[in-house]
């Protein structure tokens, strides 16, 4: 079963990207292998040209944020690393109608601008960095 599964993922056009395996609502294993760095992840998430996260999400600890997605305050306590990974890699696997971009998926996009053709929004290491950052977002301890 497993090799078959991999074949499907490759056939879906993910050849250039690290293969991954979805279990339930999560991708349990890290994409690259290396653990993410939360500081780098924070910089990526807050950069409106890179992670784009603040265009839609409040709660990331930075200035003017949009309100197209849920507030992410404390998200590190609500979701485990594997769940965060699937939501970043391809949240459309969970909700096909979601506005949230699939950050690690180049297949299926049409009329992509020349600078972005055949590239995922973030690479595997960057996804792991953002996950490491999201895991640091915890509700304030009660005083």
């Amino acid at each position: 079963m497993r090799p078959h599964l991999l074949a499907i993922l490759v056939a879906l056009g993910q050849t250039a990207l690290a293969p991954y395996r979805i279990e339930g609502d999560a991708i349990p294993s890290a994409l690259g292998g290396a653990a993410g760095d939360p500081d780098r992840g924070r910089a990526i998430a807050l950069d409106p040209r890179k992670g784009l996260c603040t265009l839609c999400h409040a709660g990331l600890g930075a200035g003017p944020a949009g309100d197209l997605g849920p507030d992410l305050s404390g998200v590190g306590a609500r979701l485990a690393a594997g769940q965060l990974r699937l939501r970043l890699v391809d949240g459309r696997a969970l909700n096909p109608g979601t506005l949230m971009p699939s950050y690690y998926r180049a297949a299926g996009a049409e009329r992509v601008g020349a600078a972005w053709v055949d590239r995922p929004v973030l690479d595997a290491d960057e996804i792991e960095d953002v996950i490491a950052f999201l895991l640091t977002l915890r509700p304030e301890a009660p005083r």
Partner: protein
């Protein structure tokens, strides 16, 4: 464990199949709002006062160009069109051109007049002269409700425009409808998302520090989607403009509008 993995893949495949067609409701006529409604009071005041509206500089330049012959042998626009006779034109463009056998936007119409009646070369899109002439012509329709023609020859292009509007495009796979039908009134970063009606073009955008066409605005949105822009006067660009005008009717023409 294996069952879970398989259901994950099925989910993934289901997602792929469904991602293309997600019906989003069109905005009903009674709920249509110009982007003007979401602007800061200062920006609204700037648009409302002709002495403060920077777009009026282009309208003035357009009036001069309209009255001036492009060359000694050729007639001026004003030789064929009496003052005021072009009121209402901007409210119904893009329109069908029989000789070209395709829909033409207002800029394209002005360039056709140049080549057919003035023996002059087309003016470059987004150049000062074409923006000025278009602003001058469209300003004469200010306050009139947008009223797209019922011409059945326009129907296929208008339908193609609607399909484009609803289609996920670019690296981020956003659709125009995903922002402007489903999420207008919310915020993308600090920017309020308007319904995206082309009521005021060409318009003065503070971010541009100048006047720009609808096609330039669409290039901005497409760049945000990380999508390849449509060339002005391409079938796609005109199709989108046709649909946008129908989607905006009967909001009034605002040219020259001011936007952040």
């Amino acid at each position: 464990m294996r069952g879970l993995a398989v259901s994950g893949v099925l989910l993934l495949l289901a997602g792929l199949a469904a991602a293309q067609e997600i019906p989003i409701q069109e905005i009903p006529v009674s709920e249509r709002r110009s982007g003007l409604d979401q602007m800061a009071p200062e920006t609204r005041a700037m648009q409302a006062d002709d002495a403060a509206n920077p777009g009026m500089l282009w309208v003035g330049d357009g009036a001069d160009l309209f009255a001036r012959a492009p060359s000694p042998e050729a007639p001026a626009c004003a030789a064929c069109h009496e003052t005021g006779a072009l009121r209402g034109v901007a409210a119904r463009y893009p329109a069908w051109d029989t000789a070209e056998a395709r829909p033409i936007d207002l800029e394209g119409r002005i360039n056709l007049c140049r080549s057919r009646h003035q023996g002059a070369a087309p003016l470059p899109r987004e150049g000062r002269d074409l923006l000025a002439l278009t602003a001058f012509v469209a300003n004469q329709s200010r306050g009139l409700p947008i009223a797209p023609p019922a011409d059945p020859r326009l129907a296929p292009a208008r339908a193609a425009g609607r399909a484009l509007f609803e289609r996920p495009l670019g690296q981020l796979r956003f659709s125009c409808a995903g922002c402007h039908d489903a999420n207008w009134g919310r915020h993308l970063g600090a920017a309020p998302i308007p319904q995206g009606h082309p009521t005021g073009y060409p318009l003065y955008r503070l971010e541009w520090q100048g006047l720009g066409s609808l096609q330039r605005r669409l290039r901005n949105c497409l760049a945000g989607m990380r999508a390849e822009p449509f060339a002005p006067d391409s079938p796609e660009a005109t199709a989108l403009a046709l649909y946008l005008m129908q989607r905006a009717a009967p909001l009034p023409v605002e040219t020259p509008a001011v936007r952040p």
